[in-house]
């Protein structure tokens, strides 16, 4: 079998006495959605920060696309093709939907130092941006400033920006957070089509969505992975039920 796209090996990070990530290993394979679940404070955000490069680990190694990226920062990892979305929407508020996605497209194309040509007249960037906007269903809102979007639309804009990077793996931090039932259903359908393009490491609290989408699930508790397996295996795992899911899952 081919090497996984993303490989986290024995990664550890402590904040003083608190070990937020304790010898965590997981991998993300081509074509799958790997969900990361766990109670609040289990270390999901720390793990995401370690994988995206925002935090440096105390020990362990991260390999991405066959390369050791442990020493690289966020920018360098993004350039290698790690596309991420944020738990709290990090779109550019004064920019329109189109400008936001063009920013991502030109970033991926390495055009951000073109000083003279108007950004919105660069065909290659805008046409790819418009295509991603259409995929998340925001065509009608392309000229609206991001600050004026509804919450659910902003989540979709985040996704369009991640798509415009044409990443080799997605790192999605609670894309369903704050979405209503309709929004969650839409997002679920969207993510299902996405995994054909690049595998997704999905941090999510919405268990229905996780159980529907995930090919594999890893459960994090007190900084440690207590189980990894298919949806069925995780549902049946007694330790997971005790730590997180509760008896009714």
């Amino acid at each position: 079998m081919a090497e996984p796209v993303l490989q986290v090996q024995g990664i550890t990070r402590a904040f003083g006495a608190l070990v937020a990530s304790d010898n965590v290993s997981l991998d993300l394979r081509e074509g799958e959605i790997h969900a990361l679940i766990g109670p609040n404070g289990a270390g999901k955000s720390t793990l995401i920060a370690l994988i995206s490069g925002a935090l440096a680990p105390d020990a362990g190694q991260i390999r991405f696309n066959g390369r050791d990226v442990t020493a690289l920062d966020t920018v360098a990892r993004a350039r290698l093709g790690l596309g991420r979305s944020f738990q709290i929407s990090a779109v550019v508020p004064e920019f329109t939907v189109l400008q936001n996605v063009v920013l991502a497209a030109q970033g991926a194309a390495g055009h951000s130092y073109r000083l003279f040509r108007p950004a919105l007249k660069d065909r290659s960037a805008t046409s790819s941006a418009r295509a991603q906007i259409a995929r998340v269903g925001l065509e009608a809102r392309a000229a609206i400033p991001a600050a004026d979007l509804a919450h659910g639309e902003r989540r979709r804009l985040e996704l369009a920006m991640a798509l415009a990077l044409k990443p080799k793996a997605f790192l999605l931090d609670e894309p369903m957070a704050g979405l209503g039932a309709d929004g969650t259903a839409q997002m679920t359908t969207l993510l299902e089509t996405l995994k054909a393009e690049a595998p997704i490491l999905l941090v999510e609290h919405d268990m229905d969505a996780v159980f529907r989408l995930a090919d594999r699930i890893s459960v994090l508790d007190y900084g440690r992975i207590i189980a990894t397996g298919s949806v069925e295996e995780i549902r049946q795992d007694p330790e997971v039920r005790r730590a997180y899911l509760g008896a009714d899952a």
């Binding site: 990090a90 550019v92 063009v102 950004a119 919105l120 960037a125 990077l165």
Partner: protein, 327 residues
Amino acid sequence: MSRGIAINTAVLALCLAVPVYAHFAGEPFLLTLATRAVILALAAVGLNIALGHGGLISLGHAAFFGIGGYAMGILASHAQTFTPIADWPLLIEGTKSMPVIWLVAMVTSGLAALVIGALSLRTSGVYFIMITLAFGQMLYYFAISWPAYGGEDGLSIYVRNGFPGLNTLVPMQFFALTATVLAAAMALAHVLGRSAFGLALNAARQAPARVEAVGVRPFRLRLTAFVISGMITGLAGALFADLNRFVSPTMFSWQLSGEIMVIVILGGVGRLFGPLAGAALLVTLEHVLGGVSDYWQVYLGALLLGVVLFARGGIIGTLAGRDVAHG
């Protein structure tokens, strides 16, 4: 956007009406004031690239203004005394040619911006303000204690420098020259603002984490903007020195940095015509209120307070309304 264009046209027409009136009414002093406004506007166009697009609150732009001024002063003073600036390892002579002076002013202030920016852009917020201020003050005290070029007394240049094909001693011709330079700088600022670089720079001001996530370093974007910004303000310094035919350490003073920033804020942060509107207003107030009271800055302070509290977009922003692209 058409409302914005109308406002910009009105500002431009108003700024052009003054020199035309001054010319025909035979009031050369008004023309000098207009030239002063144009040059300060140019300095503010420079700051506006860093402040408006990059969100970099530099309280040290007088450093570049002063470097531009001293570039002119040093080159012209050597030319008027016929002494070389250096004779080893290369013979460097002074010059009275504006294009050469401008080039030297822009290169030196750009290099200074590269060094100051590379050090101060590692910080942000109030620390960035303090470090830029500190660099400005360093140069201020250096200029005071540098006897070779007048020290505290400054340097007088007896004859205004020349520009090929123009008689710069004619006030109208010098005004037209500075206005052309301002127009070119504004055109550059406009093009930069709409470019891929401008988009990324504006994004880095609002959401730096997002810019990193698309694989671009905010630090490098900001440093590039800071250097371009410093070069334009440095060019304004050279012109300012030529207007007064005098250079002194006050060009490096933090009051001057503050004045440039006041112009940007009065006119409208990040607005293309903001520096022009702000400089025109400031110079008018200075002239009109200065005649009424020695303490005219009190009124300026009240006005600034009003703008910051009630009209965040400055003159242009209030009149033209919100603009999405920060154009």
